[in-house]
């Protein structure tokens, strides 16, 4: 019987494993390391996928694909070029966005333009412990101008292309690109990400 899925909670009793080391073990065919990587980041990948693709079953499919893809291609991960968390979340985001665009292309695309109620800031499951890191992200997002924040959230959390974002915000393309760039620079500095 496999152990049940766990959420990683910062400050918990167990020392959290280093995702970079785990991913390097995965690259050597260590499936236990894949399980641990999932324990560490599965809930975050699922939440991101859920936020973008909306449908819970589809989001789980995306999560499964992302971890299997990580298993297949872990050997490509190069720790000198960024963290394993970034690697995996980048994989997850790209997959979710591709899925939602594909699904939407296959169905009626109209409803995506009905969006009117503002970005959804609170899809957090109530079972989740709010981590300090989440609070920091929230605080940093709060530090953006409304247009920077909306541009980034529509793209990142809802999978819109920047021309779609421009249409949704009734702004021109150049403005949207600039707002995304300025917003990411501000977030990067606020989060203390090393450039």
């Amino acid at each position: 019987m496999a152990e049940p899925a766990r959420l990683h909670v910062a400050g918990g009793a167990a020392e959290p494993a280093d995702p970079s080391l785990l991913l390097q073990r995965v690259a050597r065919g260590d499936d236990a390391a894949l399980g641990q990587l999932y324990d560490l980041l599965g809930a975050a990948v699922l939440a991101l996928a859920r936020r973008i693709v909306r449908d819970p079953a589809r989001a789980e499919e995306v999560t499964q694909e992302v971890f299997v893809q990580a298993w297949q291609t872990a050997a490509r991960y190069d720790p000198s070029r960024g963290s394993a968390r970034t690697w995996l979340m980048t994989l997850a985001h790209r997959r979710a966005v591709d899925v939602v665009r594909h699904d939407q292309a296959a169905t009626d695309r109209e409803d995506r333009y009905d969006w009117s109620s503002g970005p959804d800031h609170d899809v957090v499951s109530e079972t989740v412990t709010i981590r300090l890191e989440q609070q920091q992200v929230r605080r940093c997002l709060d530090g953006l101008t409304p247009l920077q924040r909306e541009a980034i959230e529509l793209a990142y959390y809802q999978g819109h292309t920047y021309p779609e974002v421009a249409e949704l915000l009734d702004a021109n393309l150049a403005t949207v690109k600039t707002r995304m760039r300025d917003g990411l620079i501000r977030l990067r500095d606020c989060m203390g990400v090393e450039a």
Binding site: A44, L48, V68, T90, V97, V137, Y156, R181, G183
Partner: protein
């Protein structure tokens, strides 16, 4: 035609996965040659990933088992990196990026694979990554006005080359692009593609050039039109 500065403005939308497919491909081609873009992208990608980690949701209890079960029956890719001598390793960051981009794989540091590949493709990819990882690999690129590119990466050491065509203009109804290896004016077909494709060419030591022609669907035995691209090997 989008200028260099305009392409640089796409770093942020790219990091947010907010580009449309054609522009994404064009930006990735640009990324090959833009050190500043790449440096900025590393920070932006890490920032975007933090946005992604800002939430968590409880998965179904059996999702973990499903993942591990599928992994157990899924072969893994191997890369040459670990067997490379240190001299190569220093050159690797650029090569790894080039490899990632050339394979139609997106992103920073060889990050993201767009599609899961079937095992046959994987074998070919191993051969391809040998060329891409070769210390003597040389690359040359020809661009089309629509932003499409044909790239040739050659390794004398491996006696092989990789051709990567991306987002070329449509060859027209019922037509394909056909790739030829030309040795002493004699063309040998290497395969066909419609607008994008990756192919491996072996035995390039005797080749003089790569040529791409437009041919009827299914390809021709000999070129029936003038090349749209030639790249000296």
């Amino acid at each position: 035609m989008t200028g260099t500065n305009e392409l640089h403005d796409l770093v942020a939308p790219y990091a947010l996965d907010a580009l449309e497919p054609l522009e994404r491909a064009r930006f990735e081609a640009h990324l090959d040659t833009c050190e500043a873009c790449f440096e900025e992208l590393i920070g932006f990608a890490a920032t975007a990933a933090r946005l992604g980690e800002a939430h968590a949701e409880t998965p179904s209890t059996d999702l973990r088992d499903r993942i591990l079960a599928q992994a157990a029956s899924t072969p893994q890719e191997r890369v040459l990196r670990t067997t490379m001598p240190p001299r190569w390793r220093r050159a690797l960051p650029r090569l790894a990026v080039a490899a990632a981009l050339l394979l139609g794989v997106a992103g920073v540091g060889g990050y993201v694979v767009e599609h899961q590949r079937v095992s046959e493709e994987r074998d070919q990819n191993v051969a391809i990554s040998r060329v891409l990882g070769a210390a003597d690999a040389e690359t040359s690129t020809k661009s089309f006005s629509n932003g499409g590119t044909v790239r040739l990466l050659t390794s004398r050491e491996q006696d092989a080359a990789v051709v990567v065509a991306r987002s070329l203009p449509s060859p027209g109804e019922g037509k394909v692009y056909q790739v030829w290896m030309v040795s002493k004016d004699v063309p040998t077909s290497q395969g066909t593609f419609t607008t994008s494709g990756t192919m491996l060419m072996k035995g390039v030591s005797s080749a003089d050039a790569l040529a791409v022609t437009v041919e009827p669907d299914g390809g021709s035995e000999h070129p029936t039109s003038d090349p749209v691209v030639t790249i000296p090997v």
